[in-house]
Protein backbone atom coordinates (compact mmCIF):
# COMPACT_ATOMS: atom_id res chain seq x y z
CA UNK A 1 0.00 0.00 0.00
CA UNK A 2 2.78 2.35 0.98
CA UNK A 3 6.36 1.85 -0.03
CA UNK A 4 9.26 4.08 0.99
CA UNK A 5 12.56 3.26 -0.65
CA UNK A 6 15.67 5.17 0.31
CA UNK A 7 13.64 8.26 1.07
CA UNK A 8 15.66 11.29 2.09
CA UNK A 9 14.42 14.75 2.97
CA UNK A 10 16.74 17.65 3.77
CA UNK A 11 15.46 21.07 4.82
CA UNK A 12 19.03 22.37 4.65
CA UNK A 13 22.24 20.97 3.22
CA UNK A 14 23.70 19.84 6.53
CA UNK A 15 20.85 18.19 8.30
CA UNK A 16 18.50 15.50 7.15
CA UNK A 17 14.98 15.08 8.52
CA UNK A 18 14.77 11.70 6.86
CA UNK A 19 17.92 9.83 5.86
CA UNK A 20 17.48 6.82 3.60
CA UNK A 21 14.29 5.37 5.10
CA UNK A 22 12.77 2.26 3.49
CA UNK A 23 9.72 0.24 4.49
CA UNK A 24 6.65 -1.37 2.99
CA UNK A 25 3.16 -1.33 4.41
CA UNK A 26 0.69 -3.84 3.02
CA UNK A 27 -3.03 -3.39 2.40
CA UNK A 28 -5.15 -3.84 5.53
CA UNK A 29 -2.28 -3.34 7.97
CA UNK A 30 -2.42 -1.18 11.08
CA UNK A 31 1.00 0.35 11.54
CA UNK A 32 2.48 2.75 14.08
CA UNK A 33 5.23 5.13 13.16
CA UNK A 34 6.94 6.13 16.41
CA UNK A 35 9.85 8.26 17.47
CA UNK A 36 10.72 11.29 19.56
CA UNK A 37 9.99 14.82 18.42
CA UNK A 38 12.26 15.64 15.52
CA UNK A 39 12.77 12.01 14.55
CA UNK A 40 11.15 12.57 11.16
CA UNK A 41 7.63 11.21 11.73
CA UNK A 42 5.85 14.36 10.68
CA UNK A 43 8.13 14.79 7.70
CA UNK A 44 7.24 11.28 6.56
CA UNK A 45 3.53 12.14 6.95
CA UNK A 46 3.89 15.37 4.98
CA UNK A 47 5.68 13.49 2.22
CA UNK A 48 2.80 11.03 2.10
CA UNK A 49 0.18 13.73 1.57
CA UNK A 50 2.49 15.41 -0.91
CA UNK A 51 2.75 18.59 1.09
CA UNK A 52 6.52 18.17 0.74
CA UNK A 53 8.69 16.56 -1.91
CA UNK A 54 11.51 14.15 -0.95
CA UNK A 55 15.07 15.22 -1.70
CA UNK A 56 15.90 11.69 -2.85
CA UNK A 57 14.30 8.25 -2.96
CA UNK A 58 10.92 7.05 -4.08
CA UNK A 59 7.54 6.93 -2.38
CA UNK A 60 4.76 4.78 -3.81
CA UNK A 61 1.19 4.77 -2.59
CA UNK A 62 -1.15 2.13 -4.03
CA UNK A 63 1.43 1.55 -6.72
CA UNK A 64 1.69 5.19 -7.80
CA UNK A 65 4.97 7.03 -7.69
CA UNK A 66 4.16 10.28 -5.84
CA UNK A 67 6.88 12.19 -7.69
CA UNK A 68 4.99 11.55 -10.94
CA UNK A 69 1.75 13.17 -9.79
CA UNK A 70 1.64 16.66 -11.34
CA UNK A 71 0.63 19.54 -9.07
CA UNK A 72 -2.88 19.99 -10.52
CA UNK A 73 -3.61 16.31 -9.85
CA UNK A 74 -2.57 16.47 -6.18
CA UNK A 75 -6.11 17.27 -4.94
CA UNK A 76 -7.43 14.15 -6.68
CA UNK A 77 -4.68 12.07 -5.09
CA UNK A 78 -5.54 13.44 -1.64
CA UNK A 79 -9.16 12.40 -2.00
CA UNK A 80 -7.99 8.80 -1.95
CA UNK A 81 -6.56 9.07 1.49
CA UNK A 82 -8.00 10.17 4.77
CA UNK A 83 -5.80 12.43 6.85
CA UNK A 84 -6.08 13.16 10.56
CA UNK A 85 -4.03 15.74 12.45
CA UNK A 86 -3.12 16.45 16.03
CA UNK A 87 -4.87 19.84 15.85
CA UNK A 88 -7.96 18.35 14.09
CA UNK A 89 -7.92 20.99 11.31
CA UNK A 90 -11.68 21.46 11.19
CA UNK A 91 -13.30 24.38 9.41
CA UNK A 92 -14.23 26.70 12.29
CA UNK A 93 -17.16 28.34 10.47
CA UNK A 94 -18.99 25.11 9.84
CA UNK A 95 -21.01 22.77 11.95
CA UNK A 96 -20.02 19.15 12.49
CA UNK A 97 -22.38 18.10 9.73
CA UNK A 98 -21.06 20.72 7.29
CA UNK A 99 -17.45 19.86 8.05
CA UNK A 100 -18.01 16.25 7.08
CA UNK A 101 -20.20 17.22 4.14
CA UNK A 102 -17.43 19.46 2.78
CA UNK A 103 -15.23 16.42 2.11
CA UNK A 104 -18.01 15.08 -0.11
CA UNK A 105 -18.75 18.41 -1.78
CA UNK A 106 -15.09 18.67 -2.74
CA UNK A 107 -15.39 15.48 -4.76
CA UNK A 108 -18.56 16.70 -6.43
CA UNK A 109 -20.88 14.73 -4.19
CA UNK A 110 -24.52 15.68 -4.63
CA UNK A 111 -27.07 16.57 -2.00
CA UNK A 112 -28.51 13.07 -1.89
CA UNK A 113 -25.11 11.46 -1.39
CA UNK A 114 -24.40 13.86 1.45
CA UNK A 115 -27.77 13.19 3.09
CA UNK A 116 -27.11 9.46 2.87
CA UNK A 117 -23.51 9.26 3.97
CA UNK A 118 -22.92 12.01 6.51
CA UNK A 119 -25.41 10.90 9.19
CA UNK A 120 -24.13 7.34 8.82
CA UNK A 121 -20.51 8.19 9.38
CA UNK A 122 -21.39 10.50 12.27
CA UNK A 123 -23.33 7.68 13.91
CA UNK A 124 -20.32 5.41 13.48
CA UNK A 125 -18.10 7.97 15.21
CA UNK A 126 -20.64 8.59 17.96
CA UNK A 127 -21.51 12.19 17.08
CA UNK A 128 -25.19 11.83 16.22
CA UNK A 129 -26.21 14.30 18.92
CA UNK A 130 -23.73 16.99 17.92
CA UNK A 131 -24.62 17.45 14.24
CA UNK A 132 -25.27 21.15 14.45
CA UNK A 133 -22.58 22.17 16.91
CA UNK A 134 -19.60 24.24 15.80
CA UNK A 135 -16.10 22.87 16.46
CA UNK A 136 -15.41 25.32 19.31
CA UNK A 137 -18.41 23.90 21.16
CA UNK A 138 -16.92 20.40 21.20
CA UNK A 139 -14.34 18.70 23.40
CA UNK A 140 -10.97 17.71 21.95
CA UNK A 141 -11.99 14.07 21.66
CA UNK A 142 -15.19 15.02 19.88
CA UNK A 143 -13.35 17.30 17.48
CA UNK A 144 -10.97 14.48 16.65
CA UNK A 145 -13.94 12.21 16.00
CA UNK A 146 -15.29 14.78 13.56
CA UNK A 147 -11.91 14.84 11.84
CA UNK A 148 -11.95 11.05 11.59
CA UNK A 149 -15.49 11.10 10.24
CA UNK A 150 -14.41 13.62 7.61
CA UNK A 151 -11.35 11.57 6.69
CA UNK A 152 -13.35 8.37 6.36
CA UNK A 153 -16.60 9.57 4.77
CA UNK A 154 -15.22 8.85 1.28
CA UNK A 155 -14.09 5.38 2.42
CA UNK A 156 -10.50 5.91 1.31
CA UNK A 157 -8.29 2.80 1.07
CA UNK A 158 -5.66 4.47 3.26
CA UNK A 159 -5.99 6.51 6.44
CA UNK A 160 -3.02 8.34 7.89
CA UNK A 161 -3.02 10.05 11.26
CA UNK A 162 -0.35 12.40 12.57
CA UNK A 163 -0.37 12.33 16.40
CA UNK A 164 -4.15 11.84 16.54
CA UNK A 165 -4.12 11.55 20.33
CA UNK A 166 -1.40 14.13 20.99
CA UNK A 167 -3.78 16.59 22.65
CA UNK A 168 -6.04 14.09 24.38
CA UNK A 169 -6.15 12.35 27.77
CA UNK A 170 -5.54 8.56 27.94
CA UNK A 171 -9.19 7.51 28.22
CA UNK A 172 -10.24 9.67 25.25
CA UNK A 173 -7.19 8.42 23.36
CA UNK A 174 -8.38 4.83 23.76
CA UNK A 175 -11.72 5.84 22.30
CA UNK A 176 -9.98 7.38 19.27
CA UNK A 177 -7.75 4.34 18.84
CA UNK A 178 -10.78 2.10 19.07
CA UNK A 179 -12.36 4.09 16.27
CA UNK A 180 -9.25 3.80 14.13
CA UNK A 181 -9.14 0.09 14.83
CA UNK A 182 -12.75 -0.26 13.74
CA UNK A 183 -11.95 1.54 10.51
CA UNK A 184 -8.97 -0.76 10.03
CA UNK A 185 -11.28 -3.76 10.39
CA UNK A 186 -13.27 -2.61 7.36
CA UNK A 187 -10.12 -3.26 5.34
CA UNK A 188 -8.66 0.24 5.35
CA UNK A 189 -4.92 0.49 5.80
CA UNK A 190 -4.12 2.72 8.79
CA UNK A 191 -0.82 4.45 9.51
CA UNK A 192 -0.56 6.32 12.80
CA UNK A 193 2.38 8.50 13.77
CA UNK A 194 2.72 8.98 17.51
CA UNK A 195 5.23 9.47 20.31
CA UNK A 196 2.91 7.80 22.83
CA UNK A 197 4.96 4.63 23.38
CA UNK A 198 2.71 3.30 26.15
CA UNK A 199 -0.25 3.35 23.81
CA UNK A 200 1.69 1.64 21.06
CA UNK A 201 2.82 -1.14 23.42
CA UNK A 202 -0.74 -1.80 24.48
CA UNK A 203 -2.04 -1.88 20.91
CA UNK A 204 0.39 -4.64 19.92
CA UNK A 205 0.52 -3.79 16.26
CA UNK A 206 3.35 -3.42 13.81
CA UNK A 207 5.73 -0.63 14.86
CA UNK A 208 8.21 1.30 12.75
CA UNK A 209 10.49 3.46 14.86
CA UNK A 210 12.45 6.42 13.59
CA UNK A 211 15.34 8.22 15.31
CA UNK A 212 17.20 11.13 13.81
CA UNK A 213 15.68 10.42 10.44
CA UNK A 214 16.70 6.74 10.31
CA UNK A 215 14.62 3.62 10.74
CA UNK A 216 15.85 1.81 13.87
CA UNK A 217 13.07 -0.72 14.43
CA UNK A 218 10.40 -2.44 12.34
CA UNK A 219 8.68 -5.31 14.08
CA UNK A 220 5.43 -7.13 14.34
CA UNK A 221 4.28 -7.51 17.89
CA UNK A 222 4.57 -11.13 18.99
CA UNK A 223 1.11 -11.14 20.47
CA UNK A 224 -0.53 -9.73 17.39
CA UNK A 225 -4.21 -10.48 17.78
CA UNK A 226 -5.56 -10.11 14.29
CA UNK A 227 -9.03 -11.43 14.85
CA UNK A 228 -9.79 -9.29 17.87
CA UNK A 229 -13.18 -7.59 17.80
CA UNK A 230 -13.43 -3.91 18.50
CA UNK A 231 -14.95 -4.54 21.91
CA UNK A 232 -12.30 -7.08 22.91
CA UNK A 233 -9.75 -4.59 21.72
CA UNK A 234 -11.13 -1.86 23.96
CA UNK A 235 -11.38 -4.13 26.97
CA UNK A 236 -7.78 -5.22 26.56
CA UNK A 237 -6.62 -1.63 26.11
CA UNK A 238 -8.35 -0.49 29.29
CA UNK A 239 -7.12 -3.40 31.38
CA UNK A 240 -3.57 -2.91 30.20
CA UNK A 241 -3.88 0.69 31.28
CA UNK A 242 -4.91 -0.27 34.80
Amino acid sequence: MISFSGVEKRYSATDAALDGVSFDIFPGEFVFLVGHSGSGKSTAMKLLIKELEPTAGEIRVAGRDLAKIPRPRVPYYRRNLGVIFQDYKLLPNRTVYENVAYALQVTGGGRREIRDKVPDILRLTGLSTKLHNYPDQLSGGEQQRVAIARAFVNHPPLLIADEPTGNLDPETSIGIMQLLYRINQTGTTVLVATHDVAMVDKMRRRVIELADGRKIRDEQSAAYAAAESTREFAVRMRSAQG
Binding site: I49, E51, P72, P75, Y76, Y77, R78, R79, V83, K89, L90, L91, P92, N93, Y102, A103, Q105, V106, T107, G110, R111, R150
Partner: protein, 297 residues
Protein backbone atom coordinates in the same frame (compact mmCIF):
# COMPACT_ATOMS: atom_id res chain seq x y z
CA UNK B 1 -25.82 22.75 -8.66
CA UNK B 2 -22.21 23.90 -8.60
CA UNK B 3 -22.77 27.68 -9.12
CA UNK B 4 -25.48 27.61 -6.48
CA UNK B 5 -23.11 25.85 -4.10
CA UNK B 6 -20.34 28.40 -4.75
CA UNK B 7 -22.74 31.29 -4.27
CA UNK B 8 -23.98 29.84 -1.00
CA UNK B 9 -20.39 29.40 0.15
CA UNK B 10 -19.61 33.03 -0.77
CA UNK B 11 -22.65 34.33 1.11
CA UNK B 12 -21.81 32.22 4.13
CA UNK B 13 -18.27 33.60 4.17
CA UNK B 14 -19.56 37.17 3.92
CA UNK B 15 -21.94 36.62 6.81
CA UNK B 16 -19.34 34.90 8.97
CA UNK B 17 -16.66 37.52 8.30
CA UNK B 18 -18.90 40.54 8.51
CA UNK B 19 -16.28 43.04 9.68
CA UNK B 20 -13.55 42.39 7.09
CA UNK B 21 -16.23 42.18 4.40
CA UNK B 22 -17.60 45.51 5.51
CA UNK B 23 -14.09 47.03 5.45
CA UNK B 24 -13.58 45.80 1.88
CA UNK B 25 -16.96 47.17 0.86
CA UNK B 26 -16.20 50.54 2.44
CA UNK B 27 -12.89 50.66 0.60
CA UNK B 28 -14.59 50.02 -2.71
CA UNK B 29 -17.22 52.61 -1.87
CA UNK B 30 -14.73 55.37 -1.05
CA UNK B 31 -12.56 54.61 -4.06
CA UNK B 32 -15.45 54.59 -6.49
CA UNK B 33 -16.69 57.83 -4.97
CA UNK B 34 -13.31 59.54 -5.41
CA UNK B 35 -12.94 58.23 -8.97
CA UNK B 36 -16.49 59.24 -9.78
CA UNK B 37 -15.78 62.80 -8.79
CA UNK B 38 -12.30 62.90 -10.25
CA UNK B 39 -13.01 61.52 -13.73
CA UNK B 40 -15.46 64.29 -14.76
CA UNK B 41 -13.10 66.88 -13.27
CA UNK B 42 -10.23 65.55 -15.36
CA UNK B 43 -12.40 65.56 -18.42
CA UNK B 44 -13.68 69.05 -17.88
CA UNK B 45 -10.11 70.24 -17.42
CA UNK B 46 -8.76 68.56 -20.53
CA UNK B 47 -11.84 69.73 -22.39
CA UNK B 48 -11.07 73.30 -21.38
CA UNK B 49 -7.44 72.85 -22.34
CA UNK B 50 -8.45 71.53 -25.75
CA UNK B 51 -10.77 74.46 -26.26
CA UNK B 52 -7.89 76.83 -25.59
CA UNK B 53 -5.71 74.87 -27.98
CA UNK B 54 -8.38 75.28 -30.63
CA UNK B 55 -7.48 78.96 -30.62
CA UNK B 56 -4.08 78.22 -32.12
CA UNK B 57 -4.21 79.66 -35.65
CA UNK B 58 -1.93 81.05 -38.32
CA UNK B 59 -2.53 83.87 -40.82
CA UNK B 60 -1.40 83.60 -44.42
CA UNK B 61 -1.10 87.12 -45.85
CA UNK B 62 -1.25 87.51 -49.60
CA UNK B 63 0.56 90.15 -51.58
CA UNK B 64 -1.55 93.29 -51.98
CA UNK B 65 -1.66 92.87 -55.75
CA UNK B 66 -3.00 89.32 -55.59
CA UNK B 67 -5.59 88.59 -58.28
CA UNK B 68 -8.69 86.46 -57.97
CA UNK B 69 -6.85 83.60 -59.72
CA UNK B 70 -4.04 83.84 -57.19
CA UNK B 71 -6.48 83.72 -54.33
CA UNK B 72 -8.18 80.63 -55.70
CA UNK B 73 -4.84 78.91 -56.27
CA UNK B 74 -3.68 79.59 -52.71
CA UNK B 75 -7.07 78.47 -51.39
CA UNK B 76 -6.67 75.13 -53.21
CA UNK B 77 -3.11 74.82 -51.97
CA UNK B 78 -4.12 75.34 -48.34
CA UNK B 79 -7.08 73.02 -48.58
CA UNK B 80 -4.90 70.25 -50.00
CA UNK B 81 -2.56 70.38 -46.99
CA UNK B 82 -3.60 67.49 -44.68
CA UNK B 83 -2.40 69.11 -41.45
CA UNK B 84 -4.79 72.02 -41.92
CA UNK B 85 -8.32 71.38 -40.76
CA UNK B 86 -9.99 74.74 -41.42
CA UNK B 87 -9.31 77.50 -43.93
CA UNK B 88 -11.09 80.81 -43.57
CA UNK B 89 -10.73 83.56 -46.16
CA UNK B 90 -10.80 87.18 -45.02
CA UNK B 91 -10.81 89.58 -47.94
CA UNK B 92 -9.18 93.01 -47.85
CA UNK B 93 -12.56 94.68 -47.52
CA UNK B 94 -13.72 92.49 -44.65
CA UNK B 95 -10.45 93.10 -42.86
CA UNK B 96 -10.67 96.82 -43.48
CA UNK B 97 -14.20 96.99 -42.14
CA UNK B 98 -13.28 95.07 -39.01
CA UNK B 99 -10.19 97.11 -38.35
CA UNK B 100 -11.94 100.42 -38.98
CA UNK B 101 -14.58 99.57 -36.47
CA UNK B 102 -11.90 98.85 -33.91
CA UNK B 103 -9.87 101.97 -34.64
CA UNK B 104 -11.92 104.45 -36.68
CA UNK B 105 -9.63 107.48 -36.28
CA UNK B 106 -6.47 105.89 -37.55
CA UNK B 107 -8.20 104.50 -40.63
CA UNK B 108 -9.89 107.86 -41.29
CA UNK B 109 -6.44 109.32 -41.46
CA UNK B 110 -5.13 106.59 -43.69
CA UNK B 111 -7.80 107.08 -46.32
CA UNK B 112 -7.02 103.97 -48.40
CA UNK B 113 -7.00 100.25 -47.48
CA UNK B 114 -3.48 99.00 -46.72
CA UNK B 115 -4.61 95.53 -45.62
CA UNK B 116 -3.91 92.39 -47.69
CA UNK B 117 -6.21 89.46 -48.37
CA UNK B 118 -5.72 86.89 -45.62
CA UNK B 119 -6.31 83.17 -45.10
CA UNK B 120 -6.83 82.21 -41.44
CA UNK B 121 -5.92 78.56 -41.01
CA UNK B 122 -6.61 76.25 -38.08
CA UNK B 123 -4.43 73.15 -37.75
CA UNK B 124 -5.95 69.73 -37.11
CA UNK B 125 -3.52 69.23 -34.27
CA UNK B 126 -2.36 72.44 -32.58
CA UNK B 127 1.13 70.99 -32.12
CA UNK B 128 1.56 70.94 -35.94
CA UNK B 129 1.34 74.68 -36.29
CA UNK B 130 5.13 75.07 -36.60
CA UNK B 131 5.31 72.38 -39.28
CA UNK B 132 2.52 74.00 -41.27
CA UNK B 133 4.35 77.24 -41.20
CA UNK B 134 7.53 75.56 -42.40
CA UNK B 135 5.63 73.85 -45.19
CA UNK B 136 4.09 77.07 -46.47
CA UNK B 137 7.14 79.24 -45.89
CA UNK B 138 10.32 77.15 -45.68
CA UNK B 139 13.36 78.75 -44.09
CA UNK B 140 15.70 80.14 -46.71
CA UNK B 141 19.42 79.48 -46.50
CA UNK B 142 20.05 83.18 -45.95
CA UNK B 143 18.10 83.25 -42.69
CA UNK B 144 14.76 84.66 -43.91
CA UNK B 145 11.89 82.68 -45.32
CA UNK B 146 10.78 81.96 -48.84
CA UNK B 147 7.20 81.13 -49.76
CA UNK B 148 5.82 78.18 -51.72
CA UNK B 149 3.48 80.32 -53.79
CA UNK B 150 4.45 83.65 -55.33
CA UNK B 151 1.15 85.20 -54.25
CA UNK B 152 1.85 84.60 -50.57
CA UNK B 153 3.52 87.49 -48.84
CA UNK B 154 4.06 86.11 -45.36
CA UNK B 155 2.88 83.36 -42.95
CA UNK B 156 2.51 84.40 -39.34
CA UNK B 157 1.49 82.21 -36.41
CA UNK B 158 1.64 84.71 -33.53
CA UNK B 159 4.51 82.73 -32.18
CA UNK B 160 4.52 83.91 -28.60
CA UNK B 161 0.82 83.26 -27.90
CA UNK B 162 0.93 79.95 -29.64
CA UNK B 163 3.91 78.66 -27.72
CA UNK B 164 2.43 79.74 -24.42
CA UNK B 165 -0.91 78.08 -25.13
CA UNK B 166 0.70 74.87 -26.25
CA UNK B 167 3.06 74.70 -23.25
CA UNK B 168 0.44 75.44 -20.63
CA UNK B 169 -2.24 73.14 -22.01
CA UNK B 170 0.28 70.34 -22.42
CA UNK B 171 1.33 70.65 -18.79
CA UNK B 172 -2.30 70.63 -17.67
CA UNK B 173 -3.11 67.57 -19.75
CA UNK B 174 -0.05 65.61 -18.61
CA UNK B 175 -0.63 66.47 -14.96
CA UNK B 176 -4.22 65.36 -15.16
CA UNK B 177 -3.30 62.12 -16.91
CA UNK B 178 -0.64 61.42 -14.26
CA UNK B 179 -3.05 62.12 -11.42
CA UNK B 180 -5.69 59.93 -12.97
CA UNK B 181 -3.17 57.12 -13.43
CA UNK B 182 -1.90 57.38 -9.87
CA UNK B 183 -5.41 57.45 -8.47
CA UNK B 184 -6.30 54.37 -10.51
CA UNK B 185 -3.25 52.47 -9.23
CA UNK B 186 -3.87 53.61 -5.65
CA UNK B 187 -7.48 52.42 -5.85
CA UNK B 188 -6.45 49.01 -7.09
CA UNK B 189 -3.76 48.59 -4.45
CA UNK B 190 -6.11 49.74 -1.71
CA UNK B 191 -8.85 47.32 -2.70
CA UNK B 192 -6.44 44.44 -3.25
CA UNK B 193 -4.82 45.03 0.13
CA UNK B 194 -8.08 45.14 2.03
CA UNK B 195 -9.13 41.90 0.40
CA UNK B 196 -5.76 40.37 1.21
CA UNK B 197 -6.19 41.21 4.87
CA UNK B 198 -9.57 39.55 5.04
CA UNK B 199 -8.14 36.52 3.23
CA UNK B 200 -5.16 36.36 5.54
CA UNK B 201 -7.50 35.81 8.46
CA UNK B 202 -8.88 32.80 6.64
CA UNK B 203 -5.69 31.22 5.34
CA UNK B 204 -6.01 28.28 7.73
CA UNK B 205 -9.41 27.53 6.29
CA UNK B 206 -7.89 27.43 2.81
CA UNK B 207 -5.16 25.10 4.04
CA UNK B 208 -7.72 22.69 5.47
CA UNK B 209 -9.72 22.73 2.25
CA UNK B 210 -6.59 21.81 0.31
CA UNK B 211 -5.81 18.94 2.65
CA UNK B 212 -9.28 17.51 2.19
CA UNK B 213 -8.57 17.39 -1.54
CA UNK B 214 -10.31 20.52 -2.85
CA UNK B 215 -8.95 21.73 -6.19
CA UNK B 216 -7.68 25.30 -6.40
CA UNK B 217 -10.70 26.48 -8.35
CA UNK B 218 -13.09 24.78 -5.99
CA UNK B 219 -11.62 26.93 -3.23
CA UNK B 220 -11.24 29.99 -5.38
CA UNK B 221 -14.71 30.37 -6.87
CA UNK B 222 -16.45 31.32 -3.62
CA UNK B 223 -13.74 33.89 -2.96
CA UNK B 224 -14.11 35.38 -6.43
CA UNK B 225 -17.89 35.54 -6.03
CA UNK B 226 -17.37 37.17 -2.66
CA UNK B 227 -15.25 39.78 -4.41
CA UNK B 228 -17.98 40.33 -7.00
CA UNK B 229 -20.57 40.83 -4.28
CA UNK B 230 -18.35 43.20 -2.30
CA UNK B 231 -17.52 45.19 -5.44
CA UNK B 232 -21.14 45.30 -6.50
CA UNK B 233 -22.40 46.53 -3.14
CA UNK B 234 -19.64 49.08 -2.63
CA UNK B 235 -20.02 50.28 -6.22
CA UNK B 236 -23.80 50.57 -6.13
CA UNK B 237 -23.84 52.54 -2.88
CA UNK B 238 -21.10 54.87 -4.15
CA UNK B 239 -22.99 55.41 -7.41
CA UNK B 240 -26.19 56.20 -5.55
CA UNK B 241 -24.28 58.82 -3.56
CA UNK B 242 -22.79 60.20 -6.79
CA UNK B 243 -26.25 60.39 -8.36
CA UNK B 244 -27.57 62.29 -5.35
CA UNK B 245 -24.67 64.77 -5.57
CA UNK B 246 -25.13 65.16 -9.31
CA UNK B 247 -28.84 65.83 -9.08
CA UNK B 248 -28.65 68.05 -6.01
CA UNK B 249 -25.46 70.02 -6.69
CA UNK B 250 -23.97 69.67 -10.16
CA UNK B 251 -27.06 69.89 -12.34
CA UNK B 252 -28.34 73.18 -10.90
CA UNK B 253 -24.85 74.65 -11.23
CA UNK B 254 -24.31 73.34 -14.75
CA UNK B 255 -26.69 75.97 -16.08
CA UNK B 256 -24.32 78.67 -14.86
CA UNK B 257 -20.97 77.01 -15.50
CA UNK B 258 -20.25 76.16 -19.07
CA UNK B 259 -17.26 74.13 -17.93
CA UNK B 260 -19.24 71.44 -16.16
CA UNK B 261 -21.63 71.06 -19.06
CA UNK B 262 -18.77 70.94 -21.54
CA UNK B 263 -19.59 68.45 -24.28
CA UNK B 264 -16.38 66.52 -23.60
CA UNK B 265 -17.56 65.45 -20.16
CA UNK B 266 -18.50 61.78 -20.05
CA UNK B 267 -22.22 61.18 -19.72
CA UNK B 268 -23.42 59.92 -16.40
CA UNK B 269 -24.78 56.47 -17.41
CA UNK B 270 -21.51 55.62 -19.13
CA UNK B 271 -19.52 56.84 -16.12
CA UNK B 272 -21.46 54.76 -13.61
CA UNK B 273 -21.32 51.76 -15.92
CA UNK B 274 -17.54 52.01 -16.14
CA UNK B 275 -17.15 52.51 -12.40
CA UNK B 276 -19.35 49.55 -11.59
CA UNK B 277 -17.55 47.23 -13.98
CA UNK B 278 -14.19 48.44 -12.62
CA UNK B 279 -15.24 48.00 -8.98
CA UNK B 280 -16.56 44.49 -9.55
CA UNK B 281 -13.66 43.29 -11.67
CA UNK B 282 -10.95 44.78 -9.43
CA UNK B 283 -12.37 43.24 -6.29
CA UNK B 284 -13.08 39.88 -7.95
CA UNK B 285 -9.60 39.75 -9.47
CA UNK B 286 -8.13 40.96 -6.19
CA UNK B 287 -9.80 38.10 -4.31
CA UNK B 288 -8.85 35.51 -6.87
CA UNK B 289 -5.24 36.60 -7.16
CA UNK B 290 -4.56 37.28 -3.49
CA UNK B 291 -5.68 33.75 -2.79
CA UNK B 292 -2.91 32.33 -4.94
CA UNK B 293 -0.34 32.74 -2.20
CA UNK B 294 -2.38 30.76 0.30
CA UNK B 295 -3.12 28.01 -2.18
CA UNK B 296 0.51 26.92 -2.28
CA UNK B 297 0.23 24.07 0.18
Amino acid sequence: MKPVFFLREALRALKRNAIPSFAAMATVLVTVLVLGVFIPVVQATTGAANEVRGKVIADVYLKTDAKRADIERVDRLLKSEPMISKVEFISKDQAYKAERERNPKAYELLGSNPLPDTFRITPGNPDDIGKIRDALAPSAPGGGRTVVDPAIDEVRNREEDTNKILAVTNVVKITMALLAGLLGIASMLLIANTIRLSLYARRREVEVMKLVGATDWFIRWPFVLEGVIVGLFGGVVAILLLAVVKIAVVDPLAADFALIAAPETIDFPLLIGLLLVAAVSVSALGSGLSLRKFLRV
